[in-house]
């Protein structure tokens, strides 16, 4: 699904205060923005706050938006900032430092070599494994998770992800690789463990 190419919005109408056009925009981007909030914050209340704040913010700043980026990039940027702000707020409340070296260029070496990729989808996607996948995504450092969500969940390009997060494309690629490898490692140990469990039953 690539929203930015399937929907065209009239910037002129939006800036002139055309409410029908704005409603169309809201409907086109609500689902991905809500999902981004859910995956970043992990709960529906925060996801709904991010969703509402994103569009309130968009309404307020529509007149400053010059159309140098696409409407999609602009909205995702607002949403990503809302999400990161809320994460920072939540963290300062419980007062823990995120000590993960998020910007290191090192990609950790793979450790688990079990080829679970050949298992049928039905077995890979039991309710138990779905929640293992969710947990694995939640465990990613925030900055890696954000890149991973935009690129692999929302299917945006490297270039658009870089524009949204104000990063270089090289930086996005590095974070994406690290996120994918970290998830692969976690899922590999999960499926390896599950296979062992089945065999001993």
């Amino acid at each position: 699904m690539n929203i930015s190419t399937t929907h065209d919005f009239s910037l002129e109408a939006l800036r002139a205060g055309d409410r029908a056009e704005f409603a169309r925009l809201v409907d086109a981007f609500s689902a991905p923005i809500y999902r981004l909030g859910l995956k970043m914050l992990g709960n529906t209340q925060d996801a709904e706050d991010i969703l509402q704040n994103t569009f309130l913010n968009a309404l307020t700043h529509l007149s400053d938006f010059e159309g140098r980026s696409s409407v999609s990039t602009w909205l995702y940027r607002i949403a990503a900032n809302e999400a990161l702000m809320l994460i920072r707020k939540r963290k300062s409340n419980i007062n823990i430092e995120d000590m993960q070296p998020e910007d290191s260029d090192d990609v950790p070496l793979p450790e688990t070599f079990v080829d679970w990729s050949i298992l049928p989808e039905k077995e890979l996607l039991t309710n138990e494994s779905k929640s293992a996948i969710e947990t694995a995504v939640k465990k990613l450092p925030d900055s890696l998770r954000m890149v991973f969500i935009l690129r692999d969940v929302e299917d945006l390009s490297i270039k658009e992800t870089a524009e949204i997060l104000n990063l270089t494309e090289v930086n996005v690629k590095t974070r994406l690789l690290r996120a994918r490898m970290a998830l692969r490692e976690q899922l590999s140990s999960y499926y390896a463990e599950r296979t062992r469990r089945k065999e001993t039953q």
Partner: protein, 87 residues
């Protein structure tokens, strides 16, 4: 048994993402494929990484937005009039 600290394995890991996304030039792809033929571990890492991406994408194909969340959003934005206009 291959050792992933091997130079070729490390190089492959570094371009794994771009290889999966089809963003590498054909010559480089050929080199990678040649390495993959003889390296079980790298092949496993590639296959499971691809599958990992697939699996994370699958649940997101469903529309995650509950109707009542959409309704509250439209009210908050004073767009009540357009609540039923969903395309």
């Amino acid at each position: 048994m291959t050792d992933l600290t091997h130079q070729n394995c490390q190089a492959l890991l570094g371009s794994l993402s771009e290889y999966i996304d089809g963003e590498l030039p054909p010559e480089l792809c050929k080199e990678i494929e040649k390495h993959l033929e003889g390296c079980d571990n790298c092949r496993i890492v590639l296959n499971t990484t691809r599958r990992t991406i697939d699996l994370v994408q699958i649940p997101s194909e469903e529309n995650p937005l509950p109707d009542e969340v959409r309704e509250r959003l439209f009210k908050r934005l004073n767009l009540d009039d357009y609540l039923h206009a969903r395309e």
